[in-house]
Symmetry: D2
Subunit: 379 residues, 4 copies
C-alpha cells in the first residue's frame, strides 16, 4: 500500500508503508528506539508516580543535565522537537520580536509556523549562508538594517542556529562564540536547535558545555528522538531564570505530558554511561563511510562535507531514480545552500541520506553496491 | 524527598516521590501502561517506518476507529489530552467565538488557557450545573443572553461536555441528545471531552456510536492515557470535513509526533479485542466497591454517586489528615458542584479517590481498613 | 431607512438612521464633538507635523496629563476605548494570566474578545456584584480559588474595574483602595476602565490623582470620546515603566494613528481650562434631573441610583414600547446586576437612558412629558 | 525642541517639532486634511447618530464605493492603514498561511508585525523585485518551493502588492493581471495595499475597477489618509462574502470607531466630485516637477522613475546633509530595491521626497534653488 505523498521541506517521497526496512536513509526519525531506551521505558512502567514531572525519573534527569553541562540549568522535558524549539524561542522573544535564523532552518521552513504560533506572532527572519551555517557578517549586516527602537519594525531578540545544520555541517565553539559576539551588544539571545546535538558533539569532540553556554548559547533544544529515543526532547536554559515562564507556556501548549516519567526515562537511559554519544558515534561513523563511498563513485559528488550523520550527494537524476526503483529510500533536497560553483547541473539532482544508530553496515554496503552497479552501467 | 507542591485544580498534595506505590488514589494518570500496551510499544520498535503518521500502525488505528464508531471518521492521534481538547475546540471555534462548558470542566479550569491559546483567543464561558453536568435549560438560558450576530459579543460556536465529568458522573445518550437539540438551531458544534470516555462507555453499557455521533456529538477527545496507555489520545471528527485543518493545526502546535507509530501502537493495543473496555471495567468496578465501602462508614458520605471510576467522599477533616498520615494518596476537591444541601459542614472536607486499571483490590482493602480503624477511634 | 439591528450588550434597538436627533438617550457616543473640540481639530489642520505622535500637540498633552495627575505618567493616545482597554490589559497580563472583572463589564461583555486578542489569550474572569461594582470580598474569594503557582490554571494578574460602572455607579477612593489592598499581596495590577472617567470625577468631586494612583490604580483607560471628543482615548500608566512595551503593542495593533496631532488636539481641548469636567458636569446634571423626573412617575422606579450620567429605569413594558413609538431612543438593559429584591416584575423591563454634554434640557422635558402622558393613560 | 529619533523603515530623521512647515517632504502623512475634508468633518458634527457605523454617512459611502468600483462590494471603514492591511490579510489568510509580498513592502517592514498579529501568526514571505514591484516569475518560483499540502510548511494563501510601491512605482492593469494568473491555480487571494491608491489611479489614467477586480484583485486597502483625509481608510472586498468575518475581526481589534460618521464623512468628501483624484493629481504633478528638477542637477540621479508622488534621489552625501541644514525635511532611504547598476557610490546616498496635495510650488522652488546653490558650490 502506497502512502500519500510525505513531504519533508521542499522534497517529497513516496514509500511503500509495508516495506521500509532496508536501505532506508530517509531520516533518523524513521527508526525506533535503542534497546537500552526501550528497556528503560519498560522498566519505568512499574508502580505509581505523580504526574506532570513530579516523579523521581524527571528529578534524576535534571541532575544528570546539570552534571553534563557542568552548570546549574533549568531543564524542561518534551515529546517533540518542534515544541522544544517553539517554546525555547517564545521564552526569549516578544510577539513584536524577530528571530534571525538561516533561511533553510527547521524553525523557518519545516515547522508550519510553530515559532510564530508559540511567540504569538514574532517574525522569523531568514538569512542565507553556505551549508545552513550563518556567518557573523551576515548577522551583523541584517542587524544593521533593523535599528534598535524603531517602532515600525519588529525588534531582533534572538538568533537561532542549528547544530548540526540542515546541510549536515557543524559549528565549532569558536564559530558560535563569534556569532555570540555579534549579537551581545544588541541584547539578542542565542538559541541552538540541537535536534542533532549529539551528532555535533561527537563530531566536535568537545564537551557539551564548550559548544553551548561557554560559547554563548543561552538556550538549547536538546534532541533525543533522532538519537535513539522515541519521543524525548529537552529545552535547557543555561540561565535558569530565563525559563521561569516555561511551566505555563508548556502547559497551555498541551506539552506537559501526564505520565512524564516515560519521557524522563528515555533521557535517563540516553545520558547514562554516555549512551547518547555512543549512538551518535555509530550514526556519524556510518555516514562517514557512506560519504566516502559515494564520493568515490564517478559522476557523484558531495554537496557539503559530511561532518555529522547526513550525506548529501549530487548525482545524475537517472541514477537517483534507479536507486529508488531498487528499494533505496532517501529524500530529494534543495540546492539553495550550495555555493554557486557547486550547483547540480541540469541532468543532476541532490539527495539526502541520513544514517542513524540503527543503520546497518549492510544497508550501506547494499546501497554502494547498487550505485556502482548502476553507475557502471550508466557510464 | 518531598516534591514541591503539586496542584490539581484547586487542590494540592504533597507526596513522597520515592513511595507512591500503595493506596495511591491520586489520579488515573499516576499509573503506568497496561502490560498489553507496553508489549505493543516494544513490538513497534522493530525496523524502520515513515515518520509523522505515515506508518502502518496509524493506518490500522484509523481503520479500527471507523469500525468502532460504525462510521467514516477523521482521526488524529496525539500525546496529551490537553492537546486533543484544544485542537478539537480550535477546529470548531473562531477566535471571536465562545465555547460554553461547565465552570469546573478541564478545559475551563485545568489547562492553563490552552483552549484560548489554540483558538487564538476564543472565550471559554463557564456554566454551573450539578456534578459537572450541564442541563439543557442552563445552556439555553446562556445562549439567549448571547444574541446571534451581536458584534459586541463573542459568538457561541461550541458546547463542550465532559464524559465522564469532573465529578465522576456520566451523561446518558438521551441527555447528550437533549443538549444537542438546544444548540442545533444556533449552529454550535458539540464537543465531548472523553478523557475518561472508556469509563463512561462501560458505565453506560452502550456503543461508542450511541453516546457520540448518534446523540449529536461532532468531535470527541478520545482518551487513552488515563485508561492504560502511557501517552495516547485522539481527536475524532464524526464529519471528517471538520478536521480538514488538523494537519496544520497539529503540526504548528508541535503535536505531530515524529515516531508516530508508538502512539498508534498504544491505541491499536487498546482497541484490539476490547482491551480498552476491559481496563475501564476494572477501574469502574474498583471504584464502585470503594464507593460502597466508604459510604458505609459512619460520618462519611459521597459527594456524588459513583458512576465511573472516581469516588468523592465528604468526611471529617481530621479523618482525611489521618488517612494521609497513614500513607493514602488522594486529592482535596472543590464542593462547588455539589447541591446546596450536600455541602461539607465546617468540620468536613471533600476528597477525590480515583481508581484505575492498575488499582489493586488490596489497596482498597487497606484504605477501608484504615478508615474503619481511624473513624472508629474518632467516634 | 431602517438600519439593521444594532446590538449593545444584550440589548437591541432599531433606529431610523435619518432621524436620530431628538430624545436620543441611546448612548453618549451618539453625539458629535463639543464645539471647542471641533475648533481644536480644525486649528490643528494648519501646516506640517511629523507623524505618529512626534508632534507638538502630543507633547503638550503629555505635559497636561502629568499636571492633571500630579505625577510623572506615561501616556499613549488612541482613537478607541476598546483599544485603550485591551492595550492596557495586555501591558499587565501574560497570555497565561487572568483578569478579574465584573461579569457585565465592557471588557468582558462588549468588546468581542478584544482583551483576549491583545493579551494573546488571557482569561477574563467575570465576578458578580451589585450595580457593576466589585466588592473586596468577592475578589478575595475568587483569588483564593486560584492558588499562586498552580500550573494547571491561568494566573490572576490584573483586576479591572469600571469607573463609572456599566450600571452608572461610581467607586469612591476608599472603595478603590480597599480593592487594591486585596490584590497587592498577590501582585495583581489594578486597571480602571475610565470610558466615563470624567463623569465619575465630577460625581466624586475629588482630584484625578485621588481616584487613581493614590487609591492604588496602576493603569487607566482615560476616555475622551463619550465626553465630547470624537475619537480620543488615552492609556495612562502611573508607573511609566509599565508602559515600556506600548510603542510596539500599539503599532502592531494598527493603533498608531499617523496624523496623531488630531487626536492630541482633541485631548488638549478637553484638558484646557477644565473643559472636560464642564462637559461631564453638564451630562451628570442632565442625568440627575432625568432620574429625579422618572423616579417620580408612578409605576417607574430606578434600577440603581443615578450617580453619573446614566439612568436605569424599570417600567411597564407597554410604556417603554409607547415611548419608543413616540420617538424616544434608549436601550433595553439587563437586570442581572440588580439586587434580588429589585428585579423587574414580569410585566416590567429595565432600560438605559444616557445623557451627554449635548443633551438638551428640551429632550428631557419632552421625554418626561411623554412619560407622564403615557403613564397617566396607562394608569 | 528636538524630538527623539523618528524612524521610517530603515531610515531615521531628526526634526525640530516646532518648525516642520517648509520644504517638508518627509511624508504625505505629515500634512493635515484638505479643506473640503475638514469641512465635511465639521458638518458631520451636528446632531445625534447611531454609533459603530449605523449612521447615514457610512451608508452613503458604501453606496459611493459601489458606484466607484462598478460592482457590489463590501466596505469596512477604518482609521489607520495598518489596520486596513492587517484586517484585509487576516480575512484571506489562515494562521498557518503565508502571504507573499515584496521584501520592502509596508506589511513586511513597517507595521511592526501587525499582519502576524491579526492573522494569529501567518508568515509574511518577502520576495525581491526592482522598485518594490513583484514579477510573475519571482512569485511563481517561490510558489514552486512551497508545495501544496506540505504539512511541514505554511501554505501560501495570499499575494500582497503595493500600489503605488514603496519605491513610488505603479503596476499597470496588465501587470496585476499577470500576477493574478500566476496565483489563481494555487488559490491565493490577491491583496492590493493602496495606501497611495489615488496616486496610482491618477498615474494610470484608468478606472478604479480596471486596476482592481477587473485585473484580479480580491481585496483592496483603500487609503484616504495620505491623500487628504486625516484618518480614513477602507477595506474593500470585491467578493462581499470574503468580508463576512470583518464585523468581529474589526471589533475585537478595537477598530470599530464609535462615532464612525466622522470617518465616513471624510471618505464622502473625498469621493464626491472626484475630489480624491484632484488631490492625488496635485501631489503627482508636484512630484513630477520635483523629479525633473532634481534629475537635471549634475551629480544627482533618480533611483526610480517618478510615477506617482514620490521622488527618490541619489546624491552626494554632503549635499543631503547641507540640504537638511538648510531646513529641508526628507528621509534617508534604502537602496536594496535598486538594480545592481544603479546603486549609490560610496560618496552617495539615496533619499525620499514625498509630495502631497498640500505641497506648495514654493516648497519645490525653494528646494531646487537650494540644491543648485549647494551643488554649484560643491562642483
Amino acid at each position: 500500500m502506497l502512502v500519500a505523498e510525505a513531504h519533508a521541506g521542499l522534497c517529497k517521497l513516496a514509500l511503500n508503508r509495508d516495506n521500509a526496512d532496508t536501505m532506508n536513509f530517509a531520516s533518523d526519525n524513521a527508526v525506533g528506539a535503542s534497546p537500552k531506551v526501550m528497556s528503560a521505558i519498560a522498566a519505568a512502567n512499574a508502580g505509581a508516580a505523580m504526574a506532570y514531572g513530579n516523579d523521581p525519573w524527571t528529578a534524576r534527569v535534571e541532575r544528570q543535565m546539570r552534571e553534563l553541562f557542568e552548570k546549574d540549568v533549568a531543564v524542561w522535558l518534551l515529546a517533540t522537537g518542534t515544541a522544544a524549539n517553539a517554546l525555547a524561542l517564545a521564552s526569549v522573544t516578544d510577539p513584536w520580536g524577530a528571530v534571525l535564523t538561516h533561511e533553510e532552518s527547521h524553525i523557518s521552513d519545516d515547522e508550519c509556523g510553530a515559532p510564530e504560533f508559540f511567540t504569538d506572532g514574532a517574525k522569523i527572519v531568514g538569512l542565507s549562508g553556505h551549508g545552513g551555517k550563518l556567518a557573523p557578517e551576515a548577522v551583523a549586516e541584517r542587524l544593521a538594517r533593523m535599528p534598535h527602537g524603531n517602532v515600525k519594525q519588529v525588534q531582533p531578540q534572538c538568533l537561532s542556529i542549528s547544530q548540526a545544520t540542515e546541510s549536515g555541517l557543524v559549528y565549532t565553539p569558536a564559530e558560535v562564540a563569534a556569532l555570540s559576539a555579534v549579537i551581545r551588544p544588541r541584547g539578542l539571545a542565542l538559541h541552538m536547535d540541537g535536534a542533532r546535538f549529539a551528532n555535533a558533539v561527537v563530531a566536535l569532540g568537545c564537551s557539551p558545555a564548550e559548544i553551548t553556554w561557554k560559547a554563548g548559547v543561552d538556550v538549547l533544544s536538546f534532541g533525543g528522538t533522532k538519537n535513539g529515543a522515541w519521543a524525548a526532547e529537552a529545552v535547557v536554559f543555561f540561565d535558569p531564570e530565563r525559563g521561569r515562564e516555561m511551566p505555563w507556556r508548556r502547559k497551555r501548549a498541551g506539552h506537559t505530558v501526564s505520565k512524564a516519567r516515560f519521557v524522563a526515562a528515555q533521557f535517563e537511559a540516553l545520558l547514562t554511561g554516555g549512551h547518547w554519544l555512543d549512538l551518535a558515534r555509530t550514526a556519524n561513523d556510518h555516514a562517514s563511510r557512506l560519504a566516502a563511498g559515494l564520493g568515490a563513485v564517478p559522476g557523484i559528488r558531495l554537496g557539503w562535507t559530511c561532518e555529522a550523520n547526513e550525506v548529501f550527494a549530487i548525482m545524475p537524476k537517472g541514477l537517483a531514480a534507479a536507486l529508488r526503483a531498487a528499494g533505496a529510500v532517501f529524500y530529494d533536497w534543495t540546492d539553495r545552500a550550495l555555493g554557486e560553483g557547486n550547483r547540480p547541473a541540469p541532468h543532476e539532482s541532490i539527495h539526502r541520506f541520513v544514517c542513524s544508530f540503527a543503520t546497518a553496515a549492510a544497508d550501506i554496503d547494499e546501497l554502494l553496491a547498487k550505485v556502482w552497479a548502476l553507475q557502471g552501467r550508466a557510464a
